[in-house]
Amino acid sequence: MKRFVPFLIIFFISTGYNDSADAIEVTAQADKLRLSSQEALTLTITVTDAEGTVDTSSIEDFKVLGQGTSTSVQIINGQVSRKSTHRYTLLPLKEGTLHIPPLQVEVDGKNYMTNDIQVTVSDTPDETSGKSDHATSPELYLEAEISDASPFVGQQIVYTFRLLTAVNIANASFQPPAFEGFSSREIEPHKTYKKVVGQKTYHVEEVNYVLIPVKTGPLVIQPALLNCRLFTKRDQDPFSFGSAFDNPFFRSRTTQKFLRTKSLPVEVKPLPPFKGQGKFSGLVGQFSITSTVEKDVFHVGDSTTLNIIITGTGNIMDAKTPDIDLPDAFKVYEDKPEEKIKIDHQGYSGSKTFRLALVGVTAGDFNIEPVRLTYFNTDKKQYETGESSPIHLSIRPSLQKDTLEVVSADKMENTKVFKKKVTFTGRDILPLKEKMDALENQETISFGWFFVLLLSPALLYGILWTSVRITRKKDDPAIIMAERVETALKAARKSTNDPDKLLSYLYRALISAVLAKGGMKGESLTYSETETILQQNGISSQTAKEVTMLLMRIDSIRYGGEEKNPEFLKDLLQKIQKMIERLR
């Protein structure tokens, strides 16, 4: 009976699990349903009698921070029950009635949904909770601001986040907003300084981002979040006076704090329609354009470098090569632009230099017209056009006596086509695939089936080969004669002491080998038949003759009265064995 005890235990435990497997229950519970925008709530998802994976990606009204997962097992009256608990901290991203949608929990490949939860988030602190970061911890708060709340699209603005602390904090983790609708770049290094507000001196950590709106209309910069542990003082122990532990470090404890800034609305204005002449460069900010030339006097065949430099503050990195009107007296080679752009608390600024190598083709004096740059001036809120100064170039005739060979098409100057790299003028994705074949299953073959399909032809071949061998063996003369060769050779090897028998077996072996080659049955052959059979079956006439010679030798010993020397017969046996090998 003792032997069965472990099995019984396993049986009861497994029965307990099986019974409960069907009763998997998934619930979601929030620790509070009313809270202020400065507070966080704890969402607890409980999975009964299983362990699951929770997908929180559908929560859109809150920032989700995981706290961890715990599992507990209970055995009551032989029934085993498990419970896994997933805890999350949820920080509201806006005020109003917010929604925690049903969350998908995957348990052993099956999906379960939690219940739906509504939470009311008010702008003012919840009276019942009595908590507010500002009200209870004015020694720690956040600030967020932007340099311009109504920029033009493409205009850079600076987002500033400040953490003001008058107490010690630890494990601070800052999560900046997603900056949806903007391209963003963090400005480094961060600023750290002291600031006096009222009677308190705050330590300020300041983080800045340069933002460039990429679409127009009302946008919202979501709150920045800060998670930290705040040191708070314990009540002093009246009996510990004078103790070595009576210092601020040992008299403090830490509490978890979640703080968030306000959402910042931004109204992004579109650029006014451009009605001026020329082409708008796409630059927004303050810019200037200059041009320089490496040397203004040079010879035909020599080159000079034309530099077009755009300098300013704004989206300078987006500057494209300006249109330059160059005389036909030059061949032009464009170089890669050089960028010197920095990012600081004013945003992006710097210069972008476009270089063109000009090779003189025709001698003479030429003017390069001013290069124009139209940009949107965000200070003046209007389009402006800057231009570089004109450049005069003098090309002298070539110093070489030989005239420079300039190949040109016959009278085709007027139809000259300048090839340019094709660039995108707009970006979008290609359309949907609308044919119904999109519903056909393109499932690949499973490994097992693939293996079977790959092996089965080999297997079938094996079966076919075996059956052919078996059927052929019965009546194929070649096989029958080949077997006779083996039998005769074996008998010959055993009859070395009896010359007559040995010679008889050798003759039979050789004749059988010839007949096997020819695929026919028989007992004897003439010399000419032997040669004919062998040659018809791909054996050279030389070899066929050697076979005939061997047969003649056997016959002459057998019937010619030659001395049957044992050494000679052994040598003959070896020769015939080798010949039979050759015939196979």
């Binding site: 997962t69 056909e440 299953n441 073959i445």
Partner: protein, 265 residues
């Protein structure tokens, strides 16, 4: 009723049961196909009307019925990109790439989506076997498997023809050429298919889904944040433990992130 009649009726009953089963299972499958067709057409209509979220839900419904089709996955990628869910979009494009690797529209859209990913791709040294089997990207997995099976079958058929009593088959040059050609193709494609089965089982890649994800040094939310990854970034999933994946982004960027923050391709 004698014994023979009993056997006959028994056999008839089993055959009837099989026919009924096949009939009803076919009916279910037909009904599912018809339902999928309706959902598909509805999804396309919604997409055209600019209702991308409901369109994505409809396409997803079809995918959840078990349909694995590169074009369907491509449509899901397009729809998620229109919603602004870059991570989901790249995930479905990558899944489509496995089934229709040569589709030009897919390549174009995937390249476009990749330009929107914030993380600059760092070196991800491909496995040595990936280098050896570089041609696998030219064919879909299914094509590779069928080419291997068919060329292997041709090779064995040629060998079987040698067993026939026609001696000229053995010596014909064209037959010899076909024999070695089919053997070479069968070997190359079978090895590629075996590698793909191996890769599918042991080499996993995933796509980051949320806008921004902290990759941490351990399997808790309080573990040190090592670096941040953004939506759409492709990472190698080395292993999984509880609710976390251990991911490899580049040689010096390895860490743990929550399973819900990345989806396997």
């Amino acid at each position: 009723m004698n014994r023979k009649t009993g056997i006959f009726f028994k056999s008839f009953f089993y055959v009837l049961m099989i026919v009924v089963f096949i009939y009803f299972s076919d009916q279910d499958s037909l009904a599912q196909t018809s339902e999928n067709s309706r959902t598909f057409l509805n999804a396309i209509r919604l997409y055209r009307e600019g209702q991308f979220k409901p369109a994505a839900d409809e396409f997803l419904k079809i995918a959840q019925t078990g349909v694995r089709n590169g074009k369907l996955f491509y449509n899901l990628g397009n729809t998620y990109l229109k919603i602004g869910k870059l991570g989901h979009s790249i995930l479905w494009y990558e899944r489509a790439l496995k089934l229709i690797p040569n589709d030009p529209d897919l390549k174009f859209n995937l390249n476009f989506a990749r330009t929107l990913v914030k993380d600059k791709r760092e070196e991800q040294r491909p496995p040595l076997l990936n280098v050896l089997f570089f041609w696998q990207d030219l064919f879909s997995e299914k094509s590779i498997q069928w080419i291997a099976i068919i060329s292997n079958m041709v090779f064995w058929l040629i060998l079987a023809s040698y067993l026939s009593p026609i001696p000229s088959l053995k010596t014909a040059t064209s037959v010899k050429v076909f024999k070695y050609l089919s053997l070479a193709i069968a070997l190359v494609f079978s090895l590629t298919a075996f590698y793909q089965y191996f890769a599918k089982r042991y080499i996993n890649y995933g796509i980051i889904l949320p806008e921004k994800v902290s990759v941490r040094s351990g399997l808790t939310e309080t573990a040190t944040e090592l670096f941040l990854l953004h939506s759409g970034t492709k990472v190698k999933i080395e292993r999984q433990d509880r609710d976390y994946y251990r991911i490899y982004f580049s040689r010096d960027k390895i860490g743990w992130l929550k399973k819900t923050h990345a989806a396997m391709i």
